[in-house]
Symmetry: C4
Subunit: 224 residues, 4 copies
């Protein structure tokens, strides 16, 4: 496929995946963004800054290089583009990144507290706790560095950036969106469980067993 055709297809995928964020109650107003790497090129496709979810179309998406410089599109890229770009530069197996301020995950992040692995679905999808990354200001590579350094030590595709929100990664943009949806779902369930007592931990060996099975057996083909 030509680069033009590939970008056209990815613009459509990224536009379609953005619809999952409001649909799954992960965002309000113009917050949140999804990006995808253009395979084989130092390019990514992302949402423009401050644009309403009603206005998101394939054509409205923008293309930048992996330092966040606009390459194609009419509008300014998302103000989170630098963080996405840093992830793609440093984690070559990642092809999709999602950022949200989803409520329960962000509530854990504001306390600087990881989400413990007390549900089989956390073991399945995250392979252990969902970790917390550092407090970082927007404007340079601080957020990107915080994401990459935190995720390197965990199987989790999600990181709670302190006082801020969630970043998720995936081998595809769809996988990163799935991780964002699951992260909020388990953040909410564990929060509610903890309100009335202490959830029972799952033994590390059981977590390993659940994670291995889910990553290899679940779905219609090996997780991709």
């Amino acid at each position: 496929m030509s680069l033009d055709a590939s970008i056209k297809e990815i613009r459509q995928q990224v536009a379609d995946l953005h619809a999952e964020l409001p649909r799954n109650d992960l965002v309000v107003w113009t917050a949140g963004n999804v990006s995808a790497r253009v395979p084989g090129h130092d390019l990514l496709v992302i949402k423009p800054s401050g644009v309403s979810y009603d206005e998101i179309t394939a054509d409205a998406m923008v293309v930048t290089d992996l330092h966040g410089n606009l390459v194609d599109g009419d509008r300014k890229p998302s103000s989170d583009t630098a963080a996405h770009a840093y992830v793609y530069r440093n984690l070559p197996h990642v092809n999709g990144v999602v950022h949200t301020h989803s409520t329960y995950a962000t509530a854990w992040s504001a306390r600087g507290e990881a989400i413990p692995c007390v549900l089989t679905m956390i073991a399945d999808e995250f392979g252990g706790e969902i970790p917390v990354g550092p407090f970082a200001l927007i404007g340079d590579d601080s957020i990107g560095q915080g994401i990459v350094e935190t995720l390197r030590d965990h199987r989790s595709p999600a990181v709670l950036m302190r006082n801020h929100g969630v970043f998720t990664i995936g081998r595809s943009a769809r996988d990163a969106v799935k991780a964002a949806v699951m992260c909020e779902d388990v953040a909410r369930t564990v929060h509610i469980s903890r309100q009335l007592g202490n959830p029972i931990p799952i033994a590390p060996a059981d977590i390993d067993s659940l994670y291995a099975r889910y990553q290899n057996v679940y779905g219609q083909e090996p997780a991709a």
Copy 2:
């Protein structure tokens, strides 16, 4: 009705009932599943593994035997099929099974705590507390055994599997879906009530009276 016609009808019912899960906010992404027994045959109809709720049609449903082996359909059955199959093998009056990770019920399950009977609607539908089943790994009959052994001692059609989620049973698949909806509704209401104090218990004799009445008088015909 021929077996083929019967299966065709049940595929449609099971596909339609799956729509109730997202509609009642019991599932996110591809989680959750509904199955129905094929009456008079050692067969069940269930959702394929890892399939989106948007893609669910009668034709997409799969047919397995009561050990979870694929009999008809293009896709791999739900990874929870073994648990459904075990229930049908061991509880002959059950014709429908539902599994979800619905938030409030799962939050109770993560603490290993039964939902107490403190609402008339719990007495009506569940006839007492909603019990907790054991922690069990996926992959053999452990989950199915946990469901069956727990429900044998209770009037409740719902069981909270520890650190995991909810299974419900019914004389029809629709009844099992109703139990899943009601289970999450009461899990949420009792949780919220408990946040600010102690709900008042209902006397056992009143629970019996409410349960007997609801099972026999409510609706347009005897509960089926």
Copy 3:
């Protein structure tokens, strides 16, 4: 208007008002019901028992006398009809009754705790606290008596029946539905406020002033 024309019109109103219950998240599955008095006759119109909100049409509604006996319609009346009928027999100014198990209001009822008047919107609509009625079994006039005796001592059009749910009354069925919507909204807001401390009470004279103004000035004509 003839009695037939009047009943036809009220069937349509009652069917339309039922749609407000799921729309405002006050009910799940088949729970909840709205009734209206047939003015000048000892008759009421109500939802049949155990019927899905998707199936509610004007024709599906049933007509009973003020002791709950079926007068017109194909189906068995709601199992709560006796309570509605008792209210109409004993409170002649009431022309509409609503019953729900809405989550937050029911959570207060399970603790047997009234909702304190700590919001201007509670003063406006309820004129003080929303009171708790007794625990009562379904099947005779106990529920109706509990509603009437509790509301006689309060300005509130809503009563929290212990361990059960909410009943609201109104000079019209639409007013009773509004009271049910507002009751859940304030039950939720006060619950959430109380989770992190103590809401500040509103002085009784201010409650009186707010109530008098809202009942007489708000909206496009005097409250009816």
Copy 4:
């Protein structure tokens, strides 16, 4: 543009923006209202009193002077018009005002407690805590005075009026609606974070840096 054409356009904007209130779950029944100043004239456009969100059209909106007297329209203006008018008389840079009883923000207001700046999105949009205004009865300028005096000391475009609800202001009516949406979102996230511990404060210098950047860099053009 003529005054007539200008009013026609603003009626449409105000009608359209009202749809954002139920869409973002900020209101129930007929509560809540949005107004806009008619630029260059001592006039505002607002919703009529007690009107359902389904009935809101450009034509249904009403025009009043900046003391709340009806200038154009068939219906009585919102009972909150005096508060909106007071804001426009006293804050000349404000062109839009929104009022809601959104749940979490109102819960903070009932305790008379400001929302602390513990999330980067609070720093971005509100530039510090979201303050509490006084308890004030409806009927004179008390509410308007409370709003103006409280907001004068803060960068926040939102104020929590004690035991009542939220008022937000903006350089446009759309900005005021955005502030109302963001206010509820952060009220909810900080509430949930506080339920299980203490959110970590953000240093004042970081708040200043985040606020300055967001007000000047975010979106497709300088914030307007």
